[in-house]
């Protein structure tokens, strides 16, 4: 299958590695604390949001400390939103490469996504620190984090491929994306618990895959139960569809990229 071409071919794997390294290198070149920003940023974000929310809404009965609750949602959300905004520029930002030499173009998108995954893994260190700080133990169900992550990755990858290609033809995509991501965040239970929403609006969280993923992460990291398999299965199917569709869209337009940059 062409979808796996990038991983099957050693040469393309190397290129993917090099481009991912380049993407990460941008973070620490000409910066004093360099890669540490990747940890500092979400940490400060978490502190500020916790301060505001705890003081406005009081500490709701979440079963866990609000900062911990918030951060388990913030981590996967940041991975998602930063992947989308970064990948949307993947083709536009490599215009000179596009018109110069052939390689499967999805490598440009994938390398940006992988770099965000590395950021995500580093930022996860904070979560571990917070778990220790709040003396919050985990159960064996925490291992479900891996399949949940894979499903989220597929979903994000599909959308990223679509956005990268669309942004090459219409730069409006980039501006629209900022709006969409912001709205999407408020409609995803990152900062709040889905239960505080009036029940007539709760369908939003059922059709919003990111809400499903965020809830699933919380359940397996902070809770003691296995995830909700039914919503996760729906999430998986949806992610596969989005990924396949995004990939097809991307590949169909690939031949026109060089003519359009």
């Amino acid at each position: 299958m062409r979808f796996f071409e990038v991983f099957a071919n050693e040469q393309y794997r190397e290129l993917l590695g090099q481009l991912t390294a380049r993407e990460l290198a941008q973070r620490y070149k000409q910066s004093v604390i360099g890669y540490f920003w990747v940890i500092l940023n979400p940490f400060i974000q978490m502190l500020v949001m916790s301060f505001v929310f705890v003081n406005i809404f009081g500490n709701k009965n979440l079963g866990v400390a609000y900062p911990l609750f918030l951060f388990t949602g913030l981590l996967p959300w940041n991975l998602f939103s930063q992947s989308l905004t970064s990948c949307a520029e993947a083709l536009v930002g490599s215009a000179s490469l596009l018109s110069k030499i052939y390689f499967p173009r999805e490598i440009l998108v994938l390398s940006r996504m992988l770099a965000r995954v590395v950021d995500f893994l580093f930022a996860s260190i904070i979560l571990i620190g917070m778990m220790i700080f709040y003396r919050h133990g985990v159960t064996v169900h925490v291992l479900w984090v891996v399949p949940i992550f894979v499903i989220q990755f597929l979903f994000t990858y599909g959308l990223s491929l679509f956005l990268a290609a669309a942004n090459l033809f219409y730069r409006d995509v980039r501006h629209l994306l900022n709006l969409v991501v912001m709205t999407w965040m408020y409609l995803t239970p990152v900062m709040y618990d889905a239960d505080i929403f009036p029940s007539k609006y709760r369908w939003i969280f059922q059709i919003n895959p990111m809400a499903v993923f965020v809830n699933a992460y919380r359940q397996v990291i902070l809770g003691v139960d296995p995830p909700n398999f039914r919503s996760l299965a729906i999430g998986l199917v949806l992610s596969l569809v989005v990924c396949a569709w995004g990939y097809r869209f991307f590949k169909k337009l690939e031949g026109q990229f060089a003519d359009s940059v």
Binding site: S96, K100, I101, Y102, F103, A258
Partner: protein, 254 residues
């Protein structure tokens, strides 16, 4: 016929059409929509029309033509970067493009890091690149600056490094676009010598550009493309003569 191994590049009746979409912004699209127009007026033109060219293995082939005649489009089609509207392009062997040097460079990374990055873009693994690094640095004459970020390089150093990487990556077919005019006179001479060496090693070289003296001295065969049409293929000097005559006629007419 297209599978005959004696050819490095088979260009079979290739045409390439470009769309020039008139209305790209909302301000232009909306009135057009209300005027009952279809999906925005698109006018198209043929950058290349029915080009049939077969470049032999080991041949140095020149392509000449005025600006906007479709030469660069042809190179892009050979490099598989762009796809033909009709017809097909078959390439037998590994291509290294020498066009737009340094496109893969990252300004914040050092010259050495960029060698690996650029080599991987050209299809080499890190392991394959390692033994070439010293030779690449030598040829580029960058010296100690190799461990500085390339954004501090002069434009000459930049292109020298890119050229050096490109020629060290093993290839069967070299695409050359005006590159022989890189750097100062001394480095240019070195590049020309290198191209001649490749030619003697039996590599296929496709040269596109305005340097007619290069076409005449270097190429075994040449083609003249005029406004997307293939006017003449054959002996370089005859092709150049044909090109000159056409230019002559053009300027006489205006």
């Amino acid at each position: 016929m297209s599978e005959t191994p004696e050819f490095a590049v088979d260009i079979n009746h290739v045409s390439k059409m470009f769309h020039r979409q008139r209305q790209r912004t909302m301000k232009e699209m909306l009135p057009a929509f209300f005027r009952g127009g279809k999906k925005g007026v698109v006018d198209s033109f043929w950058a290349l029309q029915d080009i049939d060219l077969h470049i032999k293995k080991g041949e140095t082939f020149g392509v000449v033509g005025p600006n906007g005649s479709g030469k660069s489009t042809l190179l892009k089609l050979i490099a598989r970067v762009s796809l033909p509207t009709s017809g097909d392009v078959q390439v037998h062997g590994r291509i290294t493009p020498l066009i737009e040097l340094g496109a893969g460079f990252h300004p914040d990374m050092t010259g050495r890091e960029n060698i690996f990055l650029n080599a991987s873009i050209l299809g080499l693994t890190k392991k394959q690149t390692l033994p070439l690094v010293e030779s690449i640095i030598d040829f580029s004459e960058i010296g100690d600056f190799i461990d500085d970020p390339v954004k501090h390089y002069s434009s000459g150093m930049y292109t020298r490094l890119a050229f050096s990487v490109a020629i060290h990556v093993p290839f069967d077919i070299l695409l050359v676009d005006e590159i022989l005019s890189v750097g100062d006179a001394r480095f240019r001479k070195k590049c020309n010598q290198q191209i001649t060496d490749f030619k003697n090693q039996g590599k296929t070289i496709i040269y596109v550009g305005h340097g007619l003296e290069h076409v005449s001295s270097l190429c075994d065969r040449a083609a003249f493309i005029n406004y997307g049409h293939l006017e003449k293929v054959g002996d370089p000097d005859e092709v150049i003569q044909c090109y000159m005559d056409k230019q002559e006629q053009e300027s006489a007419r205006t």
